[in-house]
Amino acid sequence: MGRIQLKSVTKSFGDVEVIPPLDLTIEDGEFTVFVGPSGCGKSTLLRLIAGLEDITSGSIDIDGADATDVPPARRGLAMVFQSYALYPHMTVRKNIAFPLRMAKLDQAEIDKRVEGAAAVLNLTDYLDRRPGQLSGGQRQRVAIGRAIVREPAAFLFDEPLSNLDAALRVGMRLEISELHERLATTMIYVTHDQVEAMTMADKIVVLQAGVIEQVGSPLELYRTPRNLFVAGFIGSPKMNFIEGPEAAKHGAHTIGIRPEHIAVSESEGDWSGVVSVSEHLGSDTFFHIHETGLAETITVRADGEVGFRHGDRIHLTPRADVIHRFNAKGLRIE
């Protein structure tokens, strides 16, 4: 069980209000990702849920019971920290067993649960090592192990993959997703990486300056971003925004078109421009097009085989059905 409900929660540090009144419900078993640029309050929000920071006003319910004034240890939540926060002087076994020892479980039960967690996380061979002797990915798994032995109502992850190298990050991403499938426990995951958000989440909460910009499934956010911020934040490469007469043609202040929704051609198209930089990823190529008369740069995603070079003048055609329209306030026009 792990249904978490935030009711008009606010947080101020001194005079600075970092989180204006905010309502959010996280359903039981849901994988929720808080995503936003750094300093948007996503980590603060997670710490409020964990109880590591006191909320200024409002209330937090966990499983229907008011947990606003419940100390962190008794909220039944487990957290995985960005720095892993392993206890360096304890072996892996003792690290994982620590919450159980604090809960005064008997030794046989502790051993059983630690062995179980170690088996799930492939840590059995490392139980007697210290954190300092482990690689980044292994440390990450120990931190997760320490969280799962408690059998918490929900897991909180604070940018857990940001200290890993790219290859390992992809691997751990899968492992965490698999863990969620297996445990079916509520997970709240904070990240600034929209790829992590898109690939892992059941529900994404996009935050900016402490305000929820949009809540929805990854594809909802991708297909129908509610405003310019979400449109620009979700999707990689970033959506192209075009203002002025071209937007007015569509009856909008700004139109947005994703790089993957623009077709390129040598000879004909609605728009034209000059290729400046092309990024070849093998499977795809990203072209940065200048001199279109529409915006500073238009990014286009094309097939990896398309071979335009720097300085080539090419033609672009947007797919009409996926043009996003926004009004002067930056809100979506349906």
Partner: protein
């Protein structure tokens, strides 16, 4: 990079420092050993020839030897216990954000800058004086009979004075150690259900173990040879005669350089025994 050539040049250039340090250490050590085997009474005939191990036997068989060793160990142990415990507590207190933090920290460190002689005299005359001392006034305020600290509680007094001097050092080292503790570890422990005392015991104390080791080792080196505090307060009376003070008395008051030198050699041996014990107990914290 380090070729054969550059290595030999490096050795050559380090040589003066090494020779100087070696000389600095070896000359006094050799002289102490040399005098310890001689009967040497500067005011009563000077060098009276070799006497073998006579000085060593006399120094140990003197009735003041074992009490002096005991006094030394009690002072070192007492000061270590007080400074480490209070140092940890003060460090944790100073680590809390508060108004005027910078000034408070400087004030806490201040006693370390006071010369031992001066601080001992200040304690003796301003605090511990049985008639006009602040402590005497405090005792009288509560209607109690003032204690003449330095004669009735001489050992306690010396330990108090020395602890006051060394507490800043311990606090400073432990404060820097505590500041390097990752706050996420404490938060993780909090989420894991560890209450305040258990967080201290399981997280903060192990984190400080290395700093505590360093404090203990460094302080022991200096505390084994404290002298000024005893010289200006009790003058070695009332059971406060340490090994260092006994050697001083043998050399300067009895004018017996040979006997004092033998005592010096014993002091070296005592220091090494203490060092071996300490390294056994706390030295493993310095590994890894």
């Amino acid at each position: 990079m380090a070729t054969q050539h550059s290595r030999s040049v490096a050795r050559l250039m380090m040589a003066p420092a090494v020779v100087l340090l070696l000389g600095w250490m070896l000359v006094p050590l050799t002289m102490t050993l040399y005098f310890s085997f001689k009967k040497y009474l500067p005011l009563r005939g000077g060098d009276l020839g070799w006497v073998g191990f006579d000085n060593y036997v006399r120094f140990v068989s003197s009735s003041s030897f074992w009490p002096a060793v005991q006094a030394t160990l009690v002072i070192v142990g007492g000061v270590l216990v007080i400074t480490v415990i209070l140092g940890v507590l003060l460090a944790m207190l100073l680590d809390q954000p508060m108004w005027g933090q910078g000034v408070v920290r400087i004030l806490v460190i201040a006693p370390f800058f006071v010369m031992p002689t001066v601080s001992a005299l200040v304690w003796k005359n301003m605090f511990m004086d049985p008639v006009n001392g602040l402590l005497a006034h405090l005792w009288r305020l509560f209607g109690a009979e003032p204690i003449s600290w330095l004669s009735e509680a001489s050992m306690t007094s010396i330990i108090m004075i020395v602890s006051w001097q060394w507490l800043p050092f311990a606090t400073l080292i432990l404060l820097t150690a505590i500041q390097s503790l990752d706050s996420e570890q404490l938060e993780a422990a909090e989420m894991d259900g560890a209450p305040v005392l258990k967080r201290f015991y399981h997280i903060i104390l192990p984190h400080l173990s290395r700093a505590i080791t360093i404090v203990i080792l460094i302080q022991t080196i200096f505390l084994l040879s404290i002298f000024a505090e005893i010289f200006v307060t009790t003058g070695g009376a009332f059971g406060t005669r340490t090994l260092t003070y006994l050697i001083f008395q043998r050399v300067l008051e009895s004018q017996n350089v040979g006997l004092g030198s033998a005592g010096g050699v014993y002091a070296i041996i005592l220091a090494n025994i203490v060092a071996i014990f300490l390294m056994r107990i706390v030295g493993k914290n310095l590994d890894a």
